[in-house]
Amino acid sequence: MSTDIIRADGVTKRFGRFVAVDRIDYGLRENEVSGIIGSNGAGKSTLFNLLTGYCAPDEGVIHYRGQDITRVTPQERVARGITRTFQLTSAFDNLSVVDNLVLAFFRAHRQPSLLRLLINRRKRHRDAEQIGETLQTFGFDGIRDREVKRLGLGEKRRLEIAMAVLSEPKVLLLDEPLAGLAESEIKGVLDVLRRRRGLQAILIVEHKISHLQDLVQRLTVMHEGRIIADGTCEECLSDAAVRRSYWQIDVAAGREAVAP
Protein backbone atom coordinates (compact mmCIF):
# COMPACT_ATOMS: atom_id res chain seq x y z
CA MET A 1 0.00 0.00 0.00
CA SER A 2 1.57 3.24 -1.07
CA THR A 3 -0.33 5.46 1.39
CA ASP A 4 1.32 3.83 4.40
CA ILE A 5 3.67 6.20 6.20
CA ILE A 6 5.39 3.39 8.07
CA ARG A 7 5.16 -0.23 7.06
CA ALA A 8 6.57 -3.59 8.12
CA ASP A 9 6.80 -6.29 5.44
CA GLY A 10 7.14 -9.90 6.46
CA VAL A 11 9.06 -9.13 9.65
CA THR A 12 10.06 -11.93 11.97
CA LYS A 13 11.80 -11.62 15.30
CA ARG A 14 12.99 -14.61 17.29
CA PHE A 15 14.37 -14.66 20.81
CA GLY A 16 16.17 -17.96 20.95
CA ARG A 17 13.65 -20.56 19.93
CA PHE A 18 10.69 -18.34 20.78
CA VAL A 19 9.19 -16.55 17.79
CA ALA A 20 7.93 -13.23 19.15
CA VAL A 21 6.82 -11.81 15.81
CA ASP A 22 6.06 -14.21 13.00
CA ARG A 23 6.11 -12.91 9.37
CA ILE A 24 3.94 -9.92 10.03
CA ASP A 25 2.81 -7.35 7.48
CA TYR A 26 1.62 -4.16 9.12
CA GLY A 27 1.17 -0.65 7.81
CA LEU A 28 0.15 2.61 9.42
CA ARG A 29 -1.51 5.19 7.18
CA GLU A 30 -0.83 8.89 7.32
CA ASN A 31 -2.75 10.71 10.10
CA GLU A 32 -4.47 7.49 11.12
CA VAL A 33 -5.11 6.67 14.76
CA SER A 34 -4.59 2.98 15.18
CA GLY A 35 -4.36 0.51 18.03
CA ILE A 36 -2.73 -2.84 18.58
CA ILE A 37 -4.05 -5.07 21.31
CA GLY A 38 -3.19 -8.54 22.46
CA SER A 39 -2.40 -10.46 25.59
CA ASN A 40 1.05 -10.65 27.17
CA GLY A 41 3.52 -12.29 24.82
CA ALA A 42 1.35 -11.67 21.76
CA GLY A 43 4.26 -9.83 20.16
CA LYS A 44 2.82 -6.33 20.16
CA SER A 45 5.70 -4.78 22.10
CA THR A 46 8.22 -6.52 19.87
CA LEU A 47 6.51 -5.20 16.75
CA PHE A 48 6.61 -1.78 18.36
CA ASN A 49 10.34 -2.13 19.04
CA LEU A 50 10.92 -3.20 15.45
CA LEU A 51 9.13 -0.12 14.15
CA THR A 52 11.07 2.22 16.44
CA GLY A 53 14.42 0.54 15.89
CA TYR A 54 14.95 -0.86 19.36
CA CYS A 55 15.58 -4.24 17.85
CA ALA A 56 16.34 -5.40 14.33
CA PRO A 57 14.16 -8.01 12.61
CA ASP A 58 15.61 -11.42 11.71
CA GLU A 59 13.66 -11.31 8.46
CA GLY A 60 11.65 -8.72 6.61
CA VAL A 61 12.00 -4.99 6.00
CA ILE A 62 10.56 -1.80 7.46
CA HIS A 63 9.76 1.15 5.24
CA TYR A 64 9.15 4.73 6.30
CA ARG A 65 7.82 7.09 3.62
CA GLY A 66 9.05 4.71 0.97
CA GLN A 67 12.56 4.40 2.37
CA ASP A 68 14.04 1.23 3.84
CA ILE A 69 14.80 2.01 7.50
CA THR A 70 15.31 -1.56 8.71
CA ARG A 71 18.88 -0.85 9.89
CA VAL A 72 18.42 2.79 10.90
CA THR A 73 19.17 3.57 14.57
CA PRO A 74 16.40 4.69 16.95
CA GLN A 75 17.94 8.17 17.23
CA GLU A 76 17.99 8.63 13.48
CA ARG A 77 14.37 7.47 13.29
CA VAL A 78 13.46 10.12 15.86
CA ALA A 79 15.20 12.72 13.76
CA ARG A 80 13.15 11.64 10.77
CA GLY A 81 9.89 11.98 12.69
CA ILE A 82 9.16 8.67 14.40
CA THR A 83 8.74 9.38 18.10
CA ARG A 84 7.75 6.97 20.82
CA THR A 85 6.87 7.02 24.49
CA PHE A 86 7.78 4.36 27.00
CA GLN A 87 5.66 2.18 29.22
CA LEU A 88 7.81 3.17 32.18
CA THR A 89 7.64 6.93 32.07
CA SER A 90 10.97 8.51 31.33
CA ALA A 91 10.53 12.26 31.69
CA PHE A 92 13.47 13.76 33.56
CA ASP A 93 12.66 13.48 37.26
CA ASN A 94 15.03 16.19 38.45
CA LEU A 95 13.75 18.88 36.08
CA SER A 96 10.56 20.90 36.24
CA VAL A 97 7.62 20.17 33.94
CA VAL A 98 8.38 23.19 31.81
CA ASP A 99 12.09 22.40 31.52
CA ASN A 100 11.25 18.92 30.24
CA LEU A 101 9.13 20.55 27.57
CA VAL A 102 11.90 23.04 26.79
CA LEU A 103 14.31 20.18 26.11
CA ALA A 104 11.84 18.47 23.78
CA PHE A 105 10.96 21.72 22.05
CA PHE A 106 14.53 22.92 21.63
CA ARG A 107 15.61 19.71 19.99
CA ALA A 108 12.75 19.81 17.53
CA HIS A 109 13.33 23.35 16.36
CA ARG A 110 17.07 23.89 16.56
CA GLN A 111 20.09 21.85 15.74
CA PRO A 112 21.25 21.10 19.29
CA SER A 113 24.97 21.68 18.83
CA LEU A 114 26.83 22.15 22.11
CA LEU A 115 27.40 25.81 21.32
CA ARG A 116 23.68 26.43 20.77
CA LEU A 117 22.92 24.65 24.04
CA LEU A 118 25.36 26.94 25.82
CA ILE A 119 24.23 30.25 24.41
CA ASN A 120 20.50 29.68 24.80
CA ARG A 121 18.89 30.48 28.13
CA ARG A 122 16.36 28.11 29.65
CA LYS A 123 14.31 30.99 30.93
CA ARG A 124 13.67 32.54 27.53
CA HIS A 125 12.46 29.25 26.08
CA ARG A 126 10.18 28.60 29.03
CA ASP A 127 8.10 31.54 27.88
CA ALA A 128 7.98 30.46 24.24
CA GLU A 129 4.50 30.57 22.78
CA GLN A 130 4.42 26.91 21.80
CA ILE A 131 5.48 25.83 25.29
CA GLY A 132 2.69 27.92 26.78
CA GLU A 133 0.15 26.35 24.45
CA THR A 134 1.35 22.85 25.26
CA LEU A 135 1.21 23.54 28.99
CA GLN A 136 -2.38 24.61 28.58
CA THR A 137 -3.47 21.79 26.26
CA PHE A 138 -2.04 19.15 28.52
CA GLY A 139 -3.32 20.70 31.72
CA PHE A 140 0.01 21.69 33.24
CA ASP A 141 -0.80 25.35 33.76
CA GLY A 142 -0.78 25.34 37.54
CA ILE A 143 2.20 23.04 37.94
CA ARG A 144 4.64 24.14 35.28
CA ASP A 145 7.47 24.65 37.76
CA ARG A 146 6.88 21.48 39.72
CA GLU A 147 9.64 18.88 39.64
CA VAL A 148 8.61 15.80 37.70
CA LYS A 149 9.41 13.47 40.59
CA ARG A 150 6.55 15.09 42.48
CA LEU A 151 3.98 14.39 39.74
CA GLY A 152 1.45 11.58 39.73
CA LEU A 153 1.70 8.74 37.23
CA GLY A 154 -1.08 10.12 35.05
CA GLU A 155 0.59 13.53 34.92
CA LYS A 156 3.89 11.91 33.99
CA ARG A 157 2.23 10.05 31.12
CA ARG A 158 0.65 13.24 29.89
CA LEU A 159 3.97 15.01 30.14
CA GLU A 160 5.65 12.32 28.12
CA ILE A 161 3.04 12.54 25.39
CA ALA A 162 3.40 16.32 25.51
CA MET A 163 7.16 16.01 25.01
CA ALA A 164 6.65 13.64 22.11
CA VAL A 165 4.05 15.93 20.52
CA LEU A 166 6.27 19.03 20.88
CA SER A 167 8.84 17.47 18.59
CA GLU A 168 6.12 17.43 15.90
CA PRO A 169 6.54 13.82 14.82
CA LYS A 170 5.01 12.32 11.70
CA VAL A 171 4.44 9.07 13.55
CA LEU A 172 3.70 8.93 17.26
CA LEU A 173 4.03 5.53 18.89
CA LEU A 174 2.58 5.13 22.37
CA ASP A 175 3.53 2.13 24.47
CA GLU A 176 0.68 1.33 26.87
CA PRO A 177 -0.05 4.96 27.73
CA LEU A 178 -2.90 3.95 30.02
CA ALA A 179 -1.22 1.19 32.03
CA GLY A 180 -1.45 1.64 35.77
CA LEU A 181 -3.61 4.75 35.62
CA ALA A 182 -6.75 5.46 37.62
CA GLU A 183 -10.02 6.10 35.73
CA SER A 184 -9.82 9.87 36.10
CA GLU A 185 -6.24 9.93 34.84
CA ILE A 186 -7.16 7.72 31.89
CA LYS A 187 -9.75 10.27 30.90
CA GLY A 188 -7.13 13.02 30.96
CA VAL A 189 -4.75 11.08 28.71
CA LEU A 190 -7.52 10.10 26.30
CA ASP A 191 -8.70 13.71 26.05
CA VAL A 192 -5.23 14.76 25.09
CA LEU A 193 -4.93 12.01 22.49
CA ARG A 194 -8.32 12.80 21.00
CA ARG A 195 -7.14 16.34 20.39
CA ARG A 196 -4.15 15.04 18.44
CA ARG A 197 -6.33 13.11 15.99
CA GLY A 198 -5.63 14.02 12.36
CA LEU A 199 -2.38 15.84 13.18
CA GLN A 200 -0.10 12.84 12.81
CA ALA A 201 -0.25 9.07 12.59
CA ILE A 202 -0.69 7.60 16.06
CA LEU A 203 -0.19 3.98 17.01
CA ILE A 204 -1.21 2.86 20.48
CA VAL A 205 -0.24 -0.46 21.97
CA GLU A 206 -2.61 -1.48 24.73
CA HIS A 207 -3.55 -4.43 26.81
CA LYS A 208 -7.24 -3.81 27.03
CA ILE A 209 -9.58 -2.76 24.28
CA SER A 210 -12.20 -0.98 26.37
CA HIS A 211 -10.50 2.42 26.47
CA LEU A 212 -9.46 2.50 22.84
CA GLN A 213 -12.86 1.80 21.37
CA ASP A 214 -13.93 5.38 20.75
CA LEU A 215 -10.41 6.69 20.05
CA VAL A 216 -8.92 4.52 17.32
CA GLN A 217 -10.12 4.33 13.73
CA ARG A 218 -8.56 0.95 13.22
CA LEU A 219 -7.70 -1.92 15.50
CA THR A 220 -5.25 -4.77 15.06
CA VAL A 221 -5.35 -7.83 17.27
CA MET A 222 -2.22 -9.90 17.76
CA HIS A 223 -1.95 -13.40 19.12
CA GLU A 224 1.18 -15.52 19.47
CA GLY A 225 3.25 -13.39 17.13
CA ARG A 226 0.68 -13.10 14.37
CA ILE A 227 -2.03 -10.67 13.37
CA ILE A 228 -5.36 -12.42 13.73
CA ALA A 229 -7.68 -9.52 12.99
CA ASP A 230 -7.46 -6.05 11.49
CA GLY A 231 -10.27 -3.58 10.95
CA THR A 232 -12.67 -1.38 12.86
CA CYS A 233 -13.23 -2.15 16.53
CA GLU A 234 -16.61 -3.75 15.78
CA GLU A 235 -15.15 -5.97 13.09
CA CYS A 236 -12.40 -7.13 15.37
CA LEU A 237 -14.69 -7.81 18.28
CA SER A 238 -17.05 -9.91 16.22
CA ASP A 239 -14.22 -11.85 14.57
CA ALA A 240 -14.32 -15.55 15.38
CA ALA A 241 -10.56 -15.92 15.82
CA VAL A 242 -10.45 -12.95 18.17
CA ARG A 243 -13.28 -14.36 20.21
CA ARG A 244 -11.49 -17.68 20.48
CA SER A 245 -8.05 -16.42 21.43
CA TYR A 246 -8.46 -13.00 22.96
CA TRP A 247 -11.83 -13.00 24.63
CA GLN A 248 -11.41 -16.46 26.04
CA ILE A 249 -8.61 -15.17 28.18
CA ASP A 250 -10.79 -12.43 29.53
CA VAL A 251 -13.71 -14.76 30.08
CA ALA A 252 -11.52 -17.27 31.87
CA ALA A 253 -10.02 -14.56 34.03
CA GLY A 254 -13.52 -13.30 34.79
CA ARG A 255 -14.65 -16.73 35.93
CA GLU A 256 -11.61 -17.18 38.08
CA ALA A 257 -12.28 -13.88 39.74
CA VAL A 258 -15.88 -14.82 40.42
CA ALA A 259 -15.31 -18.40 41.53
CA PRO A 260 -13.81 -17.93 45.01
Partner: protein, 325 residues
Protein backbone atom coordinates in the same frame (compact mmCIF):
# COMPACT_ATOMS: atom_id res chain seq x y z
CA UNK B 1 12.21 34.54 44.10
CA UNK B 2 12.95 37.79 42.28
CA UNK B 3 14.57 39.12 45.42
CA UNK B 4 17.21 36.44 44.91
CA UNK B 5 18.32 37.62 41.49
CA UNK B 6 21.45 35.74 40.63
CA UNK B 7 23.82 38.69 40.61
CA UNK B 8 22.66 39.74 44.04
CA UNK B 9 23.40 36.28 45.34
CA UNK B 10 26.83 36.33 43.75
CA UNK B 11 27.70 39.79 44.98
CA UNK B 12 26.61 39.06 48.53
CA UNK B 13 28.45 35.73 48.61
CA UNK B 14 31.67 37.36 47.55
CA UNK B 15 31.07 40.34 49.79
CA UNK B 16 30.92 37.89 52.70
CA UNK B 17 34.12 36.24 51.49
CA UNK B 18 35.80 39.62 51.45
CA UNK B 19 34.66 40.23 55.03
CA UNK B 20 36.11 36.86 55.93
CA UNK B 21 39.48 38.26 55.01
CA UNK B 22 39.07 41.04 57.58
CA UNK B 23 38.05 38.65 60.34
CA UNK B 24 40.42 35.79 59.70
CA UNK B 25 44.08 35.38 58.80
CA UNK B 26 44.99 36.04 55.18
CA UNK B 27 46.41 32.57 54.42
CA UNK B 28 43.14 31.07 55.59
CA UNK B 29 41.09 33.27 53.25
CA UNK B 30 43.37 32.51 50.32
CA UNK B 31 43.22 28.79 50.94
CA UNK B 32 39.44 28.89 51.21
CA UNK B 33 39.09 30.58 47.83
CA UNK B 34 41.49 28.22 46.07
CA UNK B 35 39.81 25.27 47.74
CA UNK B 36 36.35 26.39 46.63
CA UNK B 37 37.50 26.74 43.02
CA UNK B 38 39.07 23.29 43.35
CA UNK B 39 35.73 21.95 44.57
CA UNK B 40 33.28 23.59 42.19
CA UNK B 41 34.40 21.37 39.30
CA UNK B 42 33.82 18.27 41.38
CA UNK B 43 30.51 19.69 42.59
CA UNK B 44 29.38 20.29 39.01
CA UNK B 45 30.37 16.79 37.88
CA UNK B 46 28.66 15.12 40.82
CA UNK B 47 25.65 17.36 41.31
CA UNK B 48 24.77 18.27 37.75
CA UNK B 49 26.08 15.45 35.59
CA UNK B 50 26.08 12.58 38.10
CA UNK B 51 29.75 11.74 37.59
CA UNK B 52 31.64 10.91 40.77
CA UNK B 53 35.40 11.25 40.55
CA UNK B 54 38.03 10.09 43.03
CA UNK B 55 40.79 11.53 40.91
CA UNK B 56 40.43 15.31 41.03
CA UNK B 57 44.00 15.73 42.40
CA UNK B 58 45.26 14.55 39.01
CA UNK B 59 43.86 17.65 37.29
CA UNK B 60 44.87 19.87 40.18
CA UNK B 61 48.43 18.60 39.77
CA UNK B 62 48.41 19.05 35.99
CA UNK B 63 47.47 22.70 36.49
CA UNK B 64 49.97 23.21 39.30
CA UNK B 65 52.87 21.53 37.49
CA UNK B 66 52.17 23.22 34.17
CA UNK B 67 52.28 26.58 35.94
CA UNK B 68 55.30 25.74 38.07
CA UNK B 69 57.25 24.29 35.15
CA UNK B 70 56.64 27.37 33.06
CA UNK B 71 57.73 29.65 35.89
CA UNK B 72 60.74 27.48 36.76
CA UNK B 73 62.12 26.91 33.27
CA UNK B 74 60.73 29.55 30.93
CA UNK B 75 59.21 32.75 32.23
CA UNK B 76 58.58 34.76 35.35
CA UNK B 77 55.16 36.31 34.81
CA UNK B 78 52.72 34.59 37.19
CA UNK B 79 49.71 35.51 35.03
CA UNK B 80 51.21 33.72 32.05
CA UNK B 81 52.05 30.86 34.41
CA UNK B 82 48.42 30.53 35.46
CA UNK B 83 47.30 30.61 31.83
CA UNK B 84 49.76 27.77 31.15
CA UNK B 85 48.20 25.80 34.00
CA UNK B 86 44.71 26.30 32.57
CA UNK B 87 45.91 25.32 29.10
CA UNK B 88 47.55 22.23 30.58
CA UNK B 89 44.33 21.24 32.33
CA UNK B 90 42.32 21.83 29.16
CA UNK B 91 44.72 19.70 27.12
CA UNK B 92 44.80 16.91 29.70
CA UNK B 93 41.02 16.69 30.05
CA UNK B 94 40.53 16.84 26.27
CA UNK B 95 43.06 14.02 25.99
CA UNK B 96 41.58 11.60 28.54
CA UNK B 97 37.97 12.83 28.43
CA UNK B 98 36.77 10.99 25.31
CA UNK B 99 37.86 7.69 26.89
CA UNK B 100 36.76 8.43 30.45
CA UNK B 101 33.24 9.69 29.77
CA UNK B 102 32.31 6.35 28.22
CA UNK B 103 32.58 4.87 31.68
CA UNK B 104 29.82 4.94 34.26
CA UNK B 105 29.48 5.12 38.01
CA UNK B 106 32.15 3.24 39.88
CA UNK B 107 34.35 2.80 36.84
CA UNK B 108 34.45 6.51 36.15
CA UNK B 109 35.30 7.18 39.79
CA UNK B 110 38.12 4.65 39.79
CA UNK B 111 39.64 5.43 36.41
CA UNK B 112 40.14 8.98 37.67
CA UNK B 113 41.75 7.65 40.84
CA UNK B 114 44.04 5.56 38.65
CA UNK B 115 44.96 8.72 36.73
CA UNK B 116 45.76 10.48 40.01
CA UNK B 117 48.06 7.61 40.97
CA UNK B 118 49.75 7.78 37.56
CA UNK B 119 50.27 11.53 37.86
CA UNK B 120 51.63 11.03 41.38
CA UNK B 121 54.28 8.57 40.22
CA UNK B 122 55.09 10.57 37.11
CA UNK B 123 55.84 13.64 39.19
CA UNK B 124 57.59 11.75 41.98
CA UNK B 125 59.72 9.26 40.02
CA UNK B 126 59.43 9.08 36.27
CA UNK B 127 59.84 12.75 35.39
CA UNK B 128 62.35 13.54 38.14
CA UNK B 129 64.56 15.41 35.67
CA UNK B 130 61.78 17.98 35.20
CA UNK B 131 59.80 17.83 38.46
CA UNK B 132 62.72 17.28 40.87
CA UNK B 133 60.73 14.47 42.51
CA UNK B 134 59.90 14.93 46.18
CA UNK B 135 62.00 18.08 46.35
CA UNK B 136 59.44 19.77 44.16
CA UNK B 137 59.72 22.94 42.15
CA UNK B 138 60.43 26.08 44.14
CA UNK B 139 59.24 29.12 42.22
CA UNK B 140 58.60 31.58 45.01
CA UNK B 141 61.64 33.76 44.21
CA UNK B 142 61.14 33.55 40.46
CA UNK B 143 57.82 35.41 40.30
CA UNK B 144 58.25 38.77 38.65
CA UNK B 145 56.41 41.79 39.99
CA UNK B 146 53.33 42.52 37.94
CA UNK B 147 51.50 45.82 37.65
CA UNK B 148 48.02 46.38 39.14
CA UNK B 149 47.88 43.18 41.21
CA UNK B 150 51.22 41.76 42.31
CA UNK B 151 50.57 38.07 42.79
CA UNK B 152 53.73 37.52 44.81
CA UNK B 153 52.12 39.47 47.67
CA UNK B 154 49.44 37.53 49.57
CA UNK B 155 47.09 40.47 50.13
CA UNK B 156 47.05 41.33 46.43
CA UNK B 157 46.82 37.68 45.52
CA UNK B 158 43.68 37.57 47.63
CA UNK B 159 41.97 40.25 45.52
CA UNK B 160 43.03 38.44 42.36
CA UNK B 161 41.73 35.11 43.69
CA UNK B 162 38.47 36.72 44.71
CA UNK B 163 37.97 38.19 41.22
CA UNK B 164 38.79 34.87 39.56
CA UNK B 165 36.42 33.03 41.89
CA UNK B 166 33.70 35.55 41.11
CA UNK B 167 34.19 34.97 37.39
CA UNK B 168 34.17 31.19 37.89
CA UNK B 169 30.93 31.33 39.87
CA UNK B 170 29.27 33.64 37.39
CA UNK B 171 30.28 31.18 34.67
CA UNK B 172 28.84 28.17 36.49
CA UNK B 173 25.68 30.12 37.25
CA UNK B 174 25.45 30.92 33.54
CA UNK B 175 25.91 27.22 32.69
CA UNK B 176 23.17 26.27 35.08
CA UNK B 177 20.72 28.70 33.47
CA UNK B 178 21.45 27.58 29.92
CA UNK B 179 19.74 24.81 28.02
CA UNK B 180 23.04 22.99 28.41
CA UNK B 181 22.54 23.05 32.19
CA UNK B 182 19.18 21.35 31.76
CA UNK B 183 20.80 18.79 29.44
CA UNK B 184 23.40 17.98 32.11
CA UNK B 185 20.74 17.39 34.75
CA UNK B 186 18.81 15.31 32.23
CA UNK B 187 21.90 13.24 31.41
CA UNK B 188 22.35 12.64 35.12
CA UNK B 189 18.95 11.04 35.44
CA UNK B 190 18.36 9.30 32.10
CA UNK B 191 20.97 9.56 29.37
CA UNK B 192 19.17 7.10 27.08
CA UNK B 193 16.10 9.27 27.00
CA UNK B 194 18.26 12.31 26.34
CA UNK B 195 19.91 10.55 23.41
CA UNK B 196 16.51 9.48 22.23
CA UNK B 197 15.27 13.06 22.28
CA UNK B 198 18.06 13.68 19.79
CA UNK B 199 20.79 15.16 22.00
CA UNK B 200 24.42 14.14 21.87
CA UNK B 201 24.68 12.81 25.43
CA UNK B 202 28.34 11.88 25.15
CA UNK B 203 29.28 15.31 23.87
CA UNK B 204 27.33 16.86 26.72
CA UNK B 205 29.19 14.75 29.28
CA UNK B 206 32.55 15.37 27.62
CA UNK B 207 32.03 19.13 27.70
CA UNK B 208 31.10 18.94 31.39
CA UNK B 209 34.20 16.86 32.08
CA UNK B 210 36.44 19.34 30.27
CA UNK B 211 34.89 22.38 31.93
CA UNK B 212 35.05 20.87 35.42
CA UNK B 213 38.61 19.64 35.16
CA UNK B 214 39.90 22.79 33.53
CA UNK B 215 38.46 24.66 36.51
CA UNK B 216 40.25 22.21 38.78
CA UNK B 217 43.50 22.86 36.91
CA UNK B 218 42.92 26.59 37.36
CA UNK B 219 42.78 26.00 41.12
CA UNK B 220 46.05 24.04 40.86
CA UNK B 221 47.69 26.84 38.91
CA UNK B 222 46.60 29.42 41.50
CA UNK B 223 47.81 27.15 44.27
CA UNK B 224 51.26 26.91 42.67
CA UNK B 225 51.59 30.68 42.39
CA UNK B 226 50.18 31.27 45.88
CA UNK B 227 52.46 28.76 47.62
CA UNK B 228 55.41 29.37 45.31
CA UNK B 229 56.10 25.68 45.49
CA UNK B 230 54.75 22.43 44.04
CA UNK B 231 55.56 18.88 45.07
CA UNK B 232 54.00 15.46 44.35
CA UNK B 233 52.23 15.83 47.70
CA UNK B 234 49.51 17.77 45.85
CA UNK B 235 48.31 14.65 44.06
CA UNK B 236 48.84 12.18 46.88
CA UNK B 237 46.12 9.49 46.61
CA UNK B 238 45.46 9.99 50.32
CA UNK B 239 44.01 13.42 49.49
CA UNK B 240 41.98 12.14 46.55
CA UNK B 241 38.61 12.42 48.27
CA UNK B 242 39.14 16.01 49.51
CA UNK B 243 37.00 17.77 46.90
CA UNK B 244 34.28 15.15 47.27
CA UNK B 245 34.26 15.66 51.03
CA UNK B 246 33.96 19.42 50.62
CA UNK B 247 31.26 18.98 47.97
CA UNK B 248 29.17 16.78 50.24
CA UNK B 249 29.83 18.96 53.26
CA UNK B 250 28.68 22.07 51.42
CA UNK B 251 25.77 20.46 49.57
CA UNK B 252 26.00 18.53 46.30
CA UNK B 253 24.87 20.50 43.26
CA UNK B 254 24.27 23.77 45.10
CA UNK B 255 25.94 26.87 43.73
CA UNK B 256 27.47 28.11 46.96
CA UNK B 257 27.99 24.71 48.56
CA UNK B 258 31.66 24.59 47.54
CA UNK B 259 32.36 27.94 49.25
CA UNK B 260 30.56 26.99 52.45
CA UNK B 261 32.16 23.56 52.39
CA UNK B 262 35.62 25.03 51.84
CA UNK B 263 35.19 27.50 54.71
CA UNK B 264 34.04 24.79 57.08
CA UNK B 265 36.57 22.19 55.94
CA UNK B 266 39.56 24.53 56.01
CA UNK B 267 38.33 25.96 59.30
CA UNK B 268 38.03 22.53 60.87
CA UNK B 269 41.46 21.58 59.59
CA UNK B 270 43.02 24.69 61.08
CA UNK B 271 41.19 24.52 64.37
CA UNK B 272 41.33 20.80 64.96
CA UNK B 273 44.96 20.46 63.92
CA UNK B 274 45.86 23.05 66.52
CA UNK B 275 44.44 20.99 69.34
CA UNK B 276 44.91 17.42 68.29
CA UNK B 277 46.99 15.37 65.93
CA UNK B 278 44.14 13.28 64.55
CA UNK B 279 42.10 16.13 63.10
CA UNK B 280 40.90 13.95 60.24
CA UNK B 281 38.90 11.98 62.79
CA UNK B 282 36.85 15.09 63.60
CA UNK B 283 36.19 15.73 59.91
CA UNK B 284 35.11 12.12 59.47
CA UNK B 285 32.64 12.40 62.33
CA UNK B 286 31.25 15.71 61.09
CA UNK B 287 30.82 14.25 57.62
CA UNK B 288 28.87 11.29 58.96
CA UNK B 289 26.52 13.67 60.76
CA UNK B 290 26.06 15.87 57.71
CA UNK B 291 25.14 12.85 55.59
CA UNK B 292 22.77 11.46 58.19
CA UNK B 293 21.10 14.87 58.46
CA UNK B 294 19.64 14.45 55.01
CA UNK B 295 22.34 14.35 52.33
CA UNK B 296 21.78 17.99 51.55
CA UNK B 297 24.93 19.32 53.11
CA UNK B 298 25.27 22.56 55.03
CA UNK B 299 24.31 24.99 52.28
CA UNK B 300 21.68 22.65 50.87
CA UNK B 301 19.95 22.75 54.26
CA UNK B 302 20.41 26.44 54.93
CA UNK B 303 19.60 27.90 51.51
CA UNK B 304 15.81 27.35 51.55
CA UNK B 305 15.57 28.73 55.08
CA UNK B 306 17.72 31.69 54.20
CA UNK B 307 15.56 32.44 51.18
CA UNK B 308 12.41 32.20 53.25
CA UNK B 309 13.87 34.45 55.92
CA UNK B 310 14.98 37.05 53.41
CA UNK B 311 11.73 36.99 51.46
CA UNK B 312 9.40 37.31 54.44
CA UNK B 313 9.72 40.88 55.68
CA UNK B 314 9.09 40.10 59.34
CA UNK B 315 11.88 37.61 59.88
CA UNK B 316 15.33 38.80 60.82
CA UNK B 317 17.96 37.21 58.64
CA UNK B 318 20.99 37.93 60.78
CA UNK B 319 21.18 34.79 62.88
CA UNK B 320 20.82 32.50 59.90
CA UNK B 321 23.38 34.36 57.91
CA UNK B 322 25.77 34.03 60.79
CA UNK B 323 25.17 30.29 60.92
CA UNK B 324 25.94 29.83 57.26
CA UNK B 325 29.58 30.64 57.87
Amino acid sequence: MNAFRWWRGLVSAFGLLYLLRLLLPLPFANEVIIFSIYTIGCNFLLGHVGLISFGQPAYLAVGAYATASYLYYFGTNPYVGILMGVAGGLAASLFVGPFFVRLRGDYFALVNLALAVIVFYLTQNVLVAITHGDNGLLIVDRLSRTPVLDLSRPNQFFIFALLIAFAVWAFYKYLDDSIYGACCLAAKINENKLRFLGYDDRGIRLLAFVIANTTTALAGAMYAVYLGFVSPEITSPARAADPLVVTILGGVGTLYGPIVGAVVYTGMMDLASKFMSNWELIIGIVLVFVMLAGEKGIWGTLEPRLKRALLSPAAGSRPIKGASR
